[in-house]
């Protein structure tokens, strides 16, 4: 529901990270990890991305790759990890124990960016 905010924060985060290379790099691909518990709809984030970076010299033409991460619960009782296609409960889907830990699925992270040096203007 707030995917444009998230897209803008990806841009700001990358601008901070790439600040020392400002103006010399062009990004081709930006990879983010989005967990199923993040509340983010990938299609909406994809839709928002070009609008968030439209006027960025570095990111303006970059493709956004969204790595969707399913929820994984570690059940202490079963001593096993379960991958959920849909999160419904913080209980073990096998034995119903509430003694579980979320080990994946809450990501909302920048992962990597493919960059190349901007072609020098020789004119």
């Amino acid at each position: 529901m707030h995917e444009l905010t998230v897209a803008i924060q990806i841009r700001r985060g990358l601008e901070t990270e790439l600040a020392s290379d400002e103006g010399t790099l062009v990004a081709d691909v930006v990879r983010v990890q989005v967990g199923a518990l993040s509340g983010i709809v990938p299609e909406a984030l994809q839709f928002a991305w070009p609008h968030a970076v439209a006027d960025s010299a570095t990111l303006g033409s970059a493709r956004l790759d969204i790595d969707w991460v399913d929820v994984q619960l570690l059940c202490v009782a079963c001593n096993d990890v379960y991958t959920l296609t849909e999160f419904r409960s913080l209980r073990c889907p096998h034995c119903r124990s509430p003694d579980v830990e979320i080990i994946a699925g809450d990501e909302l992270d920048i992962a990597s960016v493919d960059v190349r040096e901007r072609a020098r203007d020789l004119s």
């Binding site: 707030h2 998230v6 999160f87 992270d109 920048i110 960059v115």
Partner: protein
């Protein structure tokens, strides 16, 4: 994409959200723990791929952490109230503030897309209240709270209530530096609301069921609503209230007082 939202367009936002933090990002920095996503590191690979470890909402998280430290230093207990629109946040807070006020110094900030109505209602108790107008934005962020309270003397406040924008999705991702996140769900919303919005249910510390005086006319099975909360989040404390009639308010106030005392007794830092 939420058409109500348009979060990037924030013409009313005077400070422009320019978090120009001076973080150092030393190259090739080693991580002492295996969960390195909490840190920021960047390494140049030969193929032109830069690995970046950074949370997307890190600016908000950093500011929320600063607020949390400041709230702890000034001994302010902070409650973030989240629910869908119309589930009774303002009504509950109005009553809560009035009941606490004789012996607790309360204050509130309230977020809405438009109108100062909620601030007016909360202000009737005579406590400091500030309206945050979000314009098109569907949730509160830490910087909006920081701006709203910037000229308040926190030393004169015991409890700060933050009434979030009515929304069951977006606020869950934004830490505001609160001590307690309260999820409100009204009997009029139906028993399955917690199942429909598991992310918010997951991030809440306490669930308050509101409008139990209306449960019968709307045929809401309050036990089922409570068990659905417990299904998503086993063990979550559930308080059944009617701010109008007064049911459950004592228990809710007891919980707040107990948590406040516990925070005041905890060492700062």
């Amino acid at each position: 994409m939420c058409t109500d939202c348009g979060c990037g367009e924030r013409p009313a936002d005077p400070h422009g959200h320019d978090h120009l933090h001076d973080h150092d990002h030393p190259h090739g920095h080693d991580h002492p723990h295996d969960h390195d996503r909490d840190d920021q590191v960047r390494q140049h690979d030969r193929d032109g791929t830069l690995t970046i470890r950074r949370r997307i909402l890190q600016d908000n998280d950093d500011l929320a952490a600063q607020l949390r430290v400041e709230f702890a230093r000034q001994n302010v207990y902070v409650v973030n109230v989240v629910s869908s629109p119309g589930s009774g946040k303002t009504e509950l807070l109005q009553r809560t503030m009035a009941e606490l006020r004789p012996d607790v110094r309360v204050a509130a900030v309230t977020g809405d897309l438009a109108t100062e109505n909620d601030a007016k209602r909360l202000g009737t108790a005579g406590a400091p209240v500030r309206q945050i107008l979000t314009g098109t934005m569907c949730h509160l962020e830490a910087d909006m709270v920081a701006d709203a309270i910037a000229d308040w003397d926190l030393a004169g406040i015991d409890v700060l209530f933050i009434e979030n924008v009515g929304n069951m999705v977006c606020p869950s991702g934004f830490d505001l530096g609160e001590d307690l996140r309260v999820m409100l769900v009204a009997t009029t919303e139906g028993e399955d609301k917690p199942l429909k919005y598991p992310t918010l249910t997951l991030t809440a510390d306490v669930a308050v069921i509101s409008k139990i005086d209306l449960a019968e006319p709307v045929e809401c099975d309050v036990d089922l609503l409570a068990s659905n909360l417990d299904e998503v989040r086993p063990g979550i404390e559930v308080i059944r209230t009617s701010a109008k009639r007064g049911d459950g308010i004592d228990r809710w106030l007891d919980l707040l007082r107990t948590r406040m005392v516990a925070k005041a007794a905890a060492p700062v830092g």
